[in-house]
């Protein structure tokens, strides 16, 4: 396998793509949103339980490629336990990571495995679908979000 390919599909991404964490419904959720990528037909439902401004739990459902599934999976881990207002900042940093010039803050932790996506503009939407969706859930406007 070429180095470029490994750079994109890092082991963490392959692992979370195969075995997504926090996958399934969330009974205690009080925020929901659906996300849709019309380019590939991928759909994701994100369920969030927010209490006292803290994200207590996040789970997701849907079907997507390895990158979108891994992104959703790692996102649920990154957000759990964080203040809801920090989600937006984290998404901004993540967005910068996958579309920007490679500078990112120090909050991203494991999420930096998505740095390789920057080289593949057609896959950026795969990596950001779950993030757009969780943002909509936290804003609670009830609208389906699309990547378009």
């Amino acid at each position: 396998m070429s180095d470029d390919l490994r750079e994109l599909y890092q082991e963490v991404i392959l692992d979370h793509g195969r075995k997504p964490r926090n996958f399934g419904p969330l009974e205690e959720a009080n925020r929901h949103a659906d996300g849709y990528n019309p380019l590939c037909g991928d759909q994701v439902q994100v369920h969030v339980q927010v209490e006292d401004g803290i994200v207590r739990a996040v789970r997701f459902e849907g079907a997507g490629c390895a990158i979108s599934t891994a992104s959703a999976s790692l996102m649920t881990q990154a957000l759990t336990g964080k203040p809801a207002d920090e989600a937006k900042e984290l998404f901004e940093e993540f967005h910068e990571l996958v579309v920007g010039d490679g500078h990112c803050g120090d909050k991203l932790g494991k999420l930096v495995v998505f740095a390789g996506v920057r080289q593949y503009p057609s896959r950026v939407k795969c990596a950001t679908l779950a993030w757009h969706t969780v943002q909509a859930a936290l804003d609670d406007d009830g609208q389906e979000v699309t990547t378009e």
């Binding site: 396998m1 599909y9 392959l14 590939c40 991928d42 997507g64 390895a66 599934t69």
Partner: protein, 417 residues
């Protein structure tokens, strides 16, 4: 005999290496591997003769058409109108006034839906489409149906990806006004039995539009033998430029149709009290068209005809059979579209692996395929998938490239398995 005909006809039979040499884009590496271009269903590459025709036209003969009395305008007009006659010959239409230039298949279908449909389809009427149409042969009819209050009936797809012809025959009623039918499915590769389906429609006095976008590069088309009322195709899917397309319409139908876009070139006289409209085909061609695109289309049709569509069809058919057998060896691969009559398209899913990941990994091996819903979301729904991976064969593909695809797919399975 022009240079193209000479170049190709001196080769005995179908010589794929000779064909490949005509396409400069194929002489490159992608990610360090020789380019393997299997995305012909989306768009085809251009032979040098097409590139030269467009470039020479801009270098020597370009001007606007149907206008000036000057030399360049006359040259440009003659070349442009020459393409109209070239397309007439290609489709075996009766008259060149039946050939309308559009910017592509999509615009051609919108033209028919708005002009012909707007005139013939009213509240309570019905339009028959099939479940395997490209979005461009669905949405124009939905827009019409919403506007006039008509309904759309859909011919179902069988499990192997053919049309259910009994169901089709049963959809006709006294309010049926139009049939829109894809000649070759872009998502499944199915070649539909269009001739008998047209006969069925005509027995009910219903006209038929054929979407030939995915057909013309792979099978000979004779609109008179088919008896179709409208036929649409795009230049870019038959080795010609993008931005140029064709609508064939039977003359008596075109003559009765109102204009759909207003502007220059489509009128006889203009006054603020009233304007009068030109006869077909000009009535449907407002504004300055893609002149160089038409010039390139002539070169593309010359190129294809010099090799011969029967020879192309035979070669591609054999290669598709080879590819079908080769990929069927892969565990967990499911072909989407296994109708007995197919052309060009190999649509498939791999168990547990998303088509986008397949497409990205293959790209690292220099292999270009399409991954997605192929603008045929109802087909995806029918087969219970969100998307498929699609390798689509063109004139320049080889068995060695199919072998490379299979090696690439094994790599994909190792990586994600």
């Amino acid at each position: 005999m022009n240079a193209v005909q000479q170049a190709v006809s001196t080769a005995p039979g179908f010589d794929v290496e000779r064909v490949r040499a005509d396409f400069p884009i194929l002489r490159q590496q992608v990610h360090g591997k020789p380019l393997v271009y299997f995305d012909n269903g989306a768009s085809t590459q251009k032979p040098q003769v097409v590139i030269d025709a467009v470039s020479d036209f801009y270098a020597h003969d370009y001007a606007n058409i149907h206008r000036g009395v000057h030399t360049l305008s006359e040259r440009a007009t003659a070349a442009y109108e020459g393409t109209r006659d070239r397309v007439r010959r290609f489709l075996n239409a009766a008259d060149k006034s039946e050939i309308i230039f559009t910017c592509g298949t999509t615009e051609a279908i919108n033209l028919v839906a708005q002009s012909f449909g707007g005139q013939k389809v009213g509240a309570g009427d019905e339009i028959i489409l099939t479940g395997m149409e490209h979005h461009s042969n669905i949405v124009p009819w939905q827009l019409l149906a919403e506007r006039v209050g008509a309904t759309i009936k859909v011919v179902p797809i069988t499990d192997d990806g053919a049309l259910d012809l009994d169901a089709y025959a049963g959809l006709f009623g006294p309010r049926t006004r139009m049939v829109g039918l894809v000649h070759v499915s872009n998502a499944l590769g199915t070649v539909n039995p269009v001739q008998s389906m047209i006969e069925t429609a005509h027995a009910h006095d219903v006209p038929v539009l054929l979407d030939g976008a995915q057909a013309v590069a792979h099978t000979p088309v004779d609109v008179q033998a088919l008896g179709c009322d409208f036929y649409a195709f795009s230049g870019h899917k038959i080795y010609g430029p993008s931005g140029i397309g064709i609508l064939y319409g039977r003359r008596e139908l075109l003559e009765a149709m109102p204009p759909w876009q207003g502007g220059g070139d489509m009128i006889t006289t203009v006054a603020f009290e009233e304007s009068t409209y030109a006869a077909p085909p000009y009535r449907f061609e407002a504004g300055t068209p893609h002149i160089a695109g038409a010039i390139g289309l002539t070169a593309a049709l010359d190129y294809v005809d010099a090799i011969g569509l029967p020879a192309i069809a035979a070669y591609e058919h054999e290669l598709l059979a080879y590819a079908t057998a080769a990929v069927s060896e892969l565990p967990g691969l499911r072909l989407i579209g296994t109708a007995p009559e197919k052309a060009s398209i190999l649509s498939f899913v791999l168990d547990g692996i998303h088509p986008h990941d397949i497409g990205t990994v293959l790209d690292f091996d220099g292999i270009a395929i399409r991954a997605g819903h192929h603008c045929a979301m109802p087909v995806m729904t029918r087969f219970g998938v969100a998307a498929t991976a699609r390798a689509s064969i063109g004139i320049y593909n080889t068995r060695a490239e199919v072998d490379a695809l299979v090696v690439g797919l094994r790599k994909v399975q190792e990586m994600f398995g």
